[in-house]
Amino acid sequence: MKRYIFRRLGYAIISLVLLSATIFVFVRLTGDPTVLLVEPGASRGDIEALRKDLGLDQPLWVQYGAFVKNLVHGDFGSSFYYRTPVLELYLSRLPHSLLLATTAMVFSLLIGIPSGVLAAVRVNGWGDGAGKVFALLGLSMPSFWVGLLMILFFSVYLGWLPSSGSGTPLHLVMPAVALGWYFAAAHMRLTRSSMLEVLGSEYVKLARLKGLPEALVIGKHAFKNALIPVLTLAGINLVIMVNVAVVVETVFAWPGIGRLLYEGIAFRDFPVVQATVLLGGVMIIAVNLLVDLLYAVIDPRIRFQ
């Protein structure tokens, strides 16, 4: 197992390096990065100062080194608009996004897993057909459109739920459903196919041959095995949710990092954009690593290698 851990760790570090390099390269791709990295309306003097600061006359890898050094020390630049270090901004907004994503994830699992199991157990029956329709709708409707429709229906027409902002649990309902909708469909699909595969396995066959009641066969033998890929995906999806919540957060004015990214674009606040993307990537790589390690703990096959 140690080998497994070290290998995963190595991959994660390589990914981090590549991520920072990618961001770095793309910013410099436009030729003159000062265009992006300088405040709108800055004077010539400011631009020259920045040029010196970034060391733009130096070879690329020296610049990259400086870039990485800053990152490691937590310096992700400062926001033009808010005039605070971006990292601070990011961390202050992150909890809101996590709250939203977690709620959305719970919603998507609560809907996705049972419907997936039902669809698999009643393959080609009514449960499966309904599930297929649900999955298709979920995967074809953009999350922000779902959000907009919900606002139209629940805020404008019915007046039950608030259309923007945060603060009460009621504010959380619509954004979470809008965000989780797509993932519910994805989780349902995966649960269904995973369950079907497991139901066709030899050990389920043997469980039936042992005369175990069907509830035990499905609930104990099939379910736990089928759940593995779903939970793995869910873990990774959680972080993805945090990052793609940009549009949902914008629609509902939810104060998370997604909204921060939007503000960065709207106000041409490039340090915010750069840092948000970078930190998002770091988060995903970190979580992927965590999930892999968790996998090693749960799945006895890897544990004892």
Binding site: K205, L209, G211
Partner: protein, 323 residues
């Protein structure tokens, strides 16, 4: 005296999704099995052996259905039983072991858990009782250090040990009948002999009747009292092992016996049976074996042979045997 198991003209059909193709995987099969007896079922792959076993257990895949006939176990017809009644029988009075032991065991649960499970479900045993019984069972199937093994996971054991575990699960509730579907096929040759000995011992100790499905006639010779030969879903010959090996009545059986290579053989080449097993969806008219039969006659091409009694307790489906 009622036989332990009696199949009476059993027919099982597979239906394709749109009802277009109907295939008879098991066709009009009848035989008796007494308590404590070992019956070998031999045939090429696709001959319907596994479907026969699953029909007895009433665990056919959704596309298959028992079309007609009866399966009488201890006098009661299993075909008419409800799902719940069958569940009470499975694992408790009739047990079955499958070919691949690694696939048969759930990778996420300990070996002990899986052995104890049957006891807890069928006999309502408490956790502690079931686990101590599980340890005893592991000893019975000759697994060394059972106390430690009981807490291990399937992938930590060798193939031979896994198959023993499967065997332990099978006998845990003291069944009367054990169906073994090619249990040694995925084992090393060196382990096979040990395993077969174990099966025989368990059989003797518990008074088990055994249906042994295999394509290996050598195993049949060692393990079985009687043997049934299947071809294209039909039972083409059945009788005591000694008699069948000495004087097979059906040309297919004869060909099978001849194709076993023997060290002392003077023949230079290996004989194989000409042709391929038939597609069950497109069976030839008359006797299903006739395209490959060296002694085929006109009648064989036209009429499906009926069951002919060749000698006492020896039947065959062949027009030539009728003479």
């Amino acid at each position: 005296m009622t036989a332990l198991l009696e199949l009476d003209h059993l027919t099982t059909r597979y239906v394709s999704a749109r009802g277009a193709r109907v295939v008879e995987a098991v066709s009009d099969i009848s035989f008796r099995l007494e308590a404590g007896e070992t019956l070998g079922i031999v045939g090429e792959s696709g001959s319907g052996k596994t479907t026969l076993a699953l029909s007895i257990m009433r665990l056919l895949p959704p596309a298959a259905r028992i079309a007609s006939g009866a399966v009488r176990f201890e006098g009661e017809d299993l075909v008419t039983k409800s799902d719940r009644e069958m569940r009470r029988l499975r694992g408790k009075r009739i047990a079955m072991i499958l070919q691949d032991p690694m696939a048969s065991l759930n990778p996420l649960f300990t070996v002990g858990d899986q052995v104890a499970e049957s006891l807890r479900v069928h006999e309502g045993a408490s956790r502690r009782t079931a686990w101590s019984r599980a340890r005893e069972l592991l000893t019975a199937v000759k697994i060394p250090a059972p106390e430690a093994r009981v807490r291990e996971y399937p992938h930590q054991l060798s193939g031979g040990m896994r198959q023993r575990i499967v065997g332990a699960i099978a006998i845990s509730c003291e069944p009367r009948l054990l169906i073994a579907d090619e249990p040694t096929t995925s084992l090393d040759v060196t382990i096979q002999a040990q395993y077969l000995n174990l099966l025989r011992e368990l059989q003797r100790e518990h008074g088990l009747a055994l249906i042994f499905i295999t394509h290996n006639l050598g195993i049949v010779a060692r393990m079985c009292d009687r043997v049934a030969v299947m071809y294209a879903g039909r039972l083409v010959e059945i009788g005591p092992v000694r008699r069948i090996f000495d004087s097979p009545a059906h040309p297919y059986t004869r060909a099978l016996l001849e194709s076993i290579p023997r060290l002392a053989d003077s023949r230079a080449r290996l004989t194989a049976i000409d042709g391929q097993p038939p597609d069950l969806a497109a069976l030839p008219t008359g006797c299903a074996f006739h395209p490959r039969c060296p002694k085929v006659e006109d009648r064989c091409r036209r009429e499906v042979p009926t069951d002919v009694t060749v000698a006492e307790d020896h039947r065959a489906r062949c027009w030539l045997a009728a003479r």
